[in-house]
Symmetry: C2
Subunit: 347 residues, 2 copies
Amino acid sequence: MPEKLYELDERKQRVLKAVIDDYIESAEPVGSRALARKHDLGVSPATIRNEMADLEMLGYLQHLHTSSGRVPSSKGYRFYVDGLIPPKPVSDEEKALIDRWYKSRVQRIDQVFEETARLISAITKNISLVLAPQMTQAQFRCLQFLPLDSRRVITVLMTDAGFIENKILEMPDGAEFEDFQRMAAVINENLAGHTLKSIEHHALAQIRDEIRDEGLYDSALSIIQRALDSGKQERLYLGGTTKMLEQPEYHDVEKVKHMLMTLEEEELMKDILRAHIGDGLEVTIGQENEDSHFKDSSIITATYHLDGELLGTIAVLGPTRMEYAKAMSLLEYMNNNLTNVIKRFHW
Amino acid sequence: MPEKLYELDERKQRVLKAVIDDYIESAEPVGSRALARKHDLGVSPATIRNEMADLEMLGYLQHLHTSSGRVPSSKGYRFYVDGLIPPKPVSDEEKALIDRWYKSRVQRIDQVFEETARLISAITKNISLVLAPQMTQAQFRCLQFLPLDSRRVITVLMTDAGFIENKILEMPDGAEFEDFQRMAAVINENLAGHTLKSIEHHALAQIRDEIRDEGLYDSALSIIQRALDSGKQERLYLGGTTKMLEQPEYHDVEKVKHMLMTLEEEELMKDILRAHIGDGLEVTIGQENEDSHFKDSSIITATYHLDGELLGTIAVLGPTRMEYAKAMSLLEYMNNNLTNVIKRFHW
DNA sequence: TGTTAGCACTCTTAAAAGATGAGTGCTAAA
DNA sequence: TTTAGCACTCATCTTTTAAGAGTGCTAACA
């Protein structure tokens, strides 16, 4: 049966696309009559009924109740996303909006991520997630100490991606600020250009040799350690928890509560995003989600890079009935844009 | 009529208190029979009915519909809060929880505020707002420059309350890093101990005299300006948007959406909190709120201080039917506690 | 053989009608 | 002044009814 290869003939595909387009727009189960009226498929409702029955048998559509129209299944959406989806590029107005938005709101680099999340939510009316770069991927640029008082110094750590972290440290007994400055010189010489990750594992040994003083070395070690620590975790920015209420799927407070509580589990959400990291755009639909919390949600992720280095992930999370075309092209655009915006903070 | 002075005799007060206690707990309009059963007031439902009718005439209670029990009015809550409220101190377990919470989660000072908001929401199941100190109130401690590359320096600004802000700046043409260091010395000598606010207005003139170079002075000025800018605004931390869904008042998505959208207007919320700043605990109930968005909400605020200096405000925002006793004592406790926690970051 | 019209049937949703019950207000008696 | 009693009001819950959208199947048609 060569039919097997192309399970869906051209008309079935047209019907499927029409059903999904309709459902995405209306959030109501779609019936044969309405379908025949809106999209002119050139056949009668009865024929469409037959096609829909076939599509249901094949698993692309679902019946909620014996009566009442059909709704796409995960498999249906999958086929739609993989082949039927109409391109819906980001409009010029939207591009202009995005540009203006960044220009007016972003000062510090963490605001880039915050505003990116907000922007994605504003445009897609869905929840957005932005996983900001692990600083471990970033390269060490320099570490400086500033005297604070007789017992403390401020450690300022910089990476090549424009991140600056600071931390107040107690000086060990007997140490002078000059010792710290000497240490900084040694450290900077040895570590410049290394990724933060590799610092942890290798480069410290060399420093040990150069700093003769055991006690000072130990505190240097713990200082770097602690300075790195705060930069180590990826940060997750969340947007659109208000916007999502506009989706009819969340007109029930219980569902909202459930979703918000899930989103609050930051580690879980990070894991999910990390698991989705692939190259470019990745769409995970309903049942395809491993986590049971998201069996009726879809997640679209895009990973952004800088000079070939993986930096992070941006994502849209919403009901399976989602404007995939729009969300996907937006993420793609934001993806490229984000790289540019970050570069402004990069030197 | 001496009665006028004490509009409510002792029994009326007991009835009012019982009604409010009941309503706060159940969120259902309370009727005379149920009241007589639960609280033993020693009189029959009929008598209570009469008392309630009086209380309604006097404006302390309200009728939703001809039938169905009574609900407290803003005036009723006001009387309750001012005189009837049963003390409900923070329990030892809660104190322990708070202590552990801070110890395990707080590293940087901004986390203090973030976690304070989260904690208040967790305990009161209501929205919490924390208005973090204006850094303008804080005292300038020192400003340091760090070389970044040939064209840029990193500016690090410290205040006595432990805030550190940093910012990357372009060096003006012809300037050397040594110039910046010289400038830092001048600036530090002149500004140490001044509040950030006063710096803006006064102290800069002296610096002008000491730094002879006009061009350098201008850039110094803009540097300080920009470094201060980011610290100038008060920051608002918001917590409990998920927790609020547990209140029956927010079982309607439209109300939730409305509230969340209002909360998103950061400047509006800041203004409201600023307007509420008084000494110690302040309770604003329902209609007493000037902003129309909060006519059926209550806001409890507490301001926290450090060494007599106003630092900021913490607040609980919820439906008028709120556990005032609990929220008030919690805020009072957090208030003191916050001062201690902040002191850890203070030197 | 694929397409279509027709029709019985299903099931949801909305509106109407009734039943229940909590609560009030008033009157009259204690 | 307090209380019991009773008629009355409304919200709410359940049941009933009606309407409408949609399906599935059969038979006719091109």
